[in-house]
Each structure stands twice: as C-alpha cells, then as structure tokens.
Amino acid sequence: MKTIRIGAGAGYSGDRIEPAVELAEKGELDYLIFECLAERTIAIGQQARRADPQKGYDPLLADRMHAVLKLCADKGIKIITNMGAANPLAAAAKTREIARALDLPQLKIAAVSGDDVLTVLQDGDYRIEDNGLPVKSLGDKLISANAYLGAQPIVDALNAGADVVITGRVADPALVLGPLIHEFGWATDDWKLLGQGTLVGHLLECAGQITGGYFADPGVKDVKDLARLGFPIGEVAADGSVVITKVAGSGGQVTAATCKEQLLYEIHDPSSYFTPDVIADFSQVVITEIGPDRVAVTGGSGRARPDTLKTTLGYVDSYIGEGQISYAGPGAQARAQLALDIVQERLAIMGVQSEEMRYDLIGVNAIHGAQVSAAAAEPYEVRVRVTGRTANMREAVRIGNEVETLYTCGPAGGGGATKSAREIIAVLSALVPRTLIKPTIHFEES
C-alpha cells in the first residue's frame, strides 16, 4: 500500500533549523512542512510590508530555505509552508533567488494568496466575534484581516507541479491535508478522510511537541537528548491512518503519551474542531504504540465544513509599559512588596494614565496569581514586575521609569532594573462567507 512520508520542520517561526535538515537528509520524506505563523504574525508582517514592499514574509525564510532547499531538490522532497505570512509573492521570489544562487535545477515555486481580505472587511458590514462590535469600529487601527484558507489552493499548486508551496494564512493542518488530498485523490466532501487527514496535520504541525519536546518533567517524565530533539515524521496511508515516528538516533521520543498531549493541544471540544476543510472529530481517536518511537493513530472523523471562514483581525490595541527590579537575601520578599507599594503610589502622584495595571512578584505570584500561589514558601530572591496598559507610548514609558528610580529612591539592595515600552498589536476574529474568498496561485520558476 502506498504510504506518504511527511516531516514537520518547524512548529513556530523561531524554531530550531537543524531538525529540519536532519529530516530532509535522513527522513526519506516525500514532503517537508514548516508551520511558522502565529496569530498576530501577519499583522506585524503587514506593517513590515508597508515600510518595504519586498518584506512581510517570515524573517527566517531565507535561513530555512538555504538550509533545506538543495537537499529537498536533490531528493525530490516537496516543501509546503506558511512562511509567506503577509507577503507570499515576495517570499516565493526570495526562494527563487536562493534556488538560483544554489545553482539548483529548475524548481517550480507556488505562492498562494487570497487570504488577505482587509478591503472586504473594511467595506462590508461584519461583526467582531469576540465582542459583537462592528469591524468598522476599529477604524484606522485595523492593520490586517486574513481569512484562514483551507487545503484546496495547496492541492491545486501541487497538481500544477509545484515543488515548493508558500502560503500566507492557511489553517495549520491544511499544510498536511493538502499533500494528502493531492497524493490520494480524496474527495473534498469525504468528511471522514478529511477529518483523519486533519488529525494528522494537527499532530504534526507543532513539530517537536509530539517527539518529546515540551514534555519532560524530570523524575516523572524523563526525555533523552532534548538538545538534539528529532522532529516528527508522519507515515500516512491512503485511508488516512498514520504512524508518527522520527529519524532513528535523534533525540526525544514518540510514545502514546506524547501523542495524547499533542492530540489535545489547543483543542476545545474534541468532537468539533473547526477548520476551513472539515469540522473534524477527534473524540474517537485510537493511539497505539506499535514499536520503539512508532505510534499508530487512527479514528479521526468529521462532518461537513463550515460555510464561513475565520478571519483574524490584527489591530493596534494599546501600549504596554513595564519595569522590573530584583531583591535577594533575607527579607527579599518584604522589600520587593515595599517596592511594589512605592511604585503604585508614585504612579498615582505623577498622574500616569493607565487602563489596567499588574503588580507581580516574580518567584512568588507572577505566573499563577496570588491565590493559587498562596501556600508556597518564601524564596531567596524575588523580582518585582510592574506592567500597565496605556493609550500612548509617552505614558507607557513613565511606568518603567518609576520602577527604575527605585535604584536610588526605593528599598535597600534593589538590582538589575530593566524597563520597556511597546506598541501592542492584538488580534480579534470575524467570520466571512466562504464565497467571498478567492485564493489565487502565482508560480515562480528558478
């Protein structure tokens, strides 16, 4: 029976690069995918593109392509990635340039566009899902609007002979579902197969998170060789059943437990995982260890895809100012608490305008809050952290300043003060009718 081997070479934009090289060298792959697009990344890319029309794609695209393009071209491994971010066309042009510089034989590089629906949202009458307000209420703070495309444009690009497919916003599992539909000729309304294929994509999309990354807990869940963590390979059969594995000798592990953690990662109702291609059902999934670092996953299903596509709206939300300073030794926590009290009073005296403030003691209560952390013992060292949301950069800067002046005006022994102020680009979502979204494919040949 024909089996397709798909490797996942990145689980986020900044991920390690060598595991992808290892996959391309030793993974006997048919496809190598890179999932690199977090929720607000496109909005940040859109700002970069406005400043320079040749930018707006993933900042590590060139590094990743330099690392794997020749290997993949030599072995006939096709690359599929959402590193196009806010500018898939420029990303494809850059990839073509790299292919030429590497003196590679002719490569067909596809750029998938059409996810950018900013003008549709600006001109239409749409509501923000999160708060019910009109999208128009964001006014000129709205930076980007990108619909989640499904697998179809990737399938079309592969059917047209693409060696590399670069997209902007697509549903993460579509990076895997696309090649599966292309290879096995699955019908686009075979919801059971699309659900199982989406399951495979969901398991692979975070790369090392299924091979023992983000899993170790010494003494309870030990994982070997995380410094050389191997990234996953999915061996997929025509019925969508998959064996998750990794390159022999690489670090990490593939077990039923690592697969279960990833199965439920960022899932709400396991019987209703919404994607542009199918509403997938993971509730009856069966996970079976069939050998060392080999886990079979079956039982994914699904039902008819939704008529609307989720669209991520990137907008300028606010500004955040922050300051930190450390205290240590006997009485550290009391001095740190005094520091927080002083800063709170100072911000009031100085009339700093904020919408929301947080006063944390790192080492005491900053991560899980005062109530959850209440029973813990007093630590040797404590770091003060004051954070606030403001309407402009000027006010944001003043927050960190009031922490820094603790050096000369605060409790004894404060050290290592830092401060920052930044513009916050946040995201909201809206639903857009599928019929308004028109994916397009542009080809570059090296």
């Binding site: 929720e39 437990a257 953690e261 509730s283 999934v285 944390d360 949301r389």
Partner: protein
C-alpha cells in the same frame, strides 16, 4: 497525593481561552481523575486566574480529560499584561492539585 503522581498535562491557548489536558499515565487511574477533577473543582483551584466558565470534555478510551477555561488569559494572549501571556505554565498549577481519597 498530587495529580502529578498519576497524570501529565499540557496547556494551550486561543484568544482568552486556555485549554488544559489531564492524561493518566495508567488508564486504570482514569476513573479517579473523572471522579475527582470536576469542572467545579478545577474552576475553584484556578481562583484569581480563570474568571469565566470551565467546561470539561472526557476521552475515557485515552484516559484523558480536557478542560476549557474561559476568561483565563488576562483578556487574550496578544494583549495580556501577564508574564506568561499564553498561560502555558498553567499545566503546572493543574498538576499541583491534590487528589484526595487516593493512595
């Protein structure tokens, strides 16, 4: 004993919603998880962190529970003032729960 002794956990984020899985190492311990880890008890454990509804989904054949906690990420990952804006470390708070009545 602590939940950490019999189960593992991973937290994920979407907007202002955190989901936290709890998975028994030994599937024979699953009934204990199902009995002890009610949505109400988990919501109480996350006091001061989770301000909305907690919904529990059960996957008995995998020995797993999935808790979906609303208004849990300081207004949303992309605008939160929290040090751990994604709430990724919340899995640790979950595993610190006491599983009483078990040995």
């Amino acid at each position: 004993m602590l939940l950490r002794d019999i189960a593992h956990s991973r937290a994920g984020d979407k907007g202002d919603i955190s989901n936290i899985s709890v998975i028994a190492y030994d599937i024979n311990d699953y009934p204990l998880l199902e009995k002890q880890l009610t949505a109400e008890r988990v919501k109480a454990h996350f006091a001061g962190v989770v301000h909305g509804e907690v919904v529990r989904y059960a996957l008995p054949h995998l020995g797993a529970l999935n808790f979906v906690m609303k208004q849990a990420l300081g207004g949303g990952v992309t605008r939160s003032l929290a040090l751990d804006a994604h709430g990724k470390s919340l899995s640790g708070a979950m595993l610190g729960m006491d599983i009483s009545g078990a040995s």
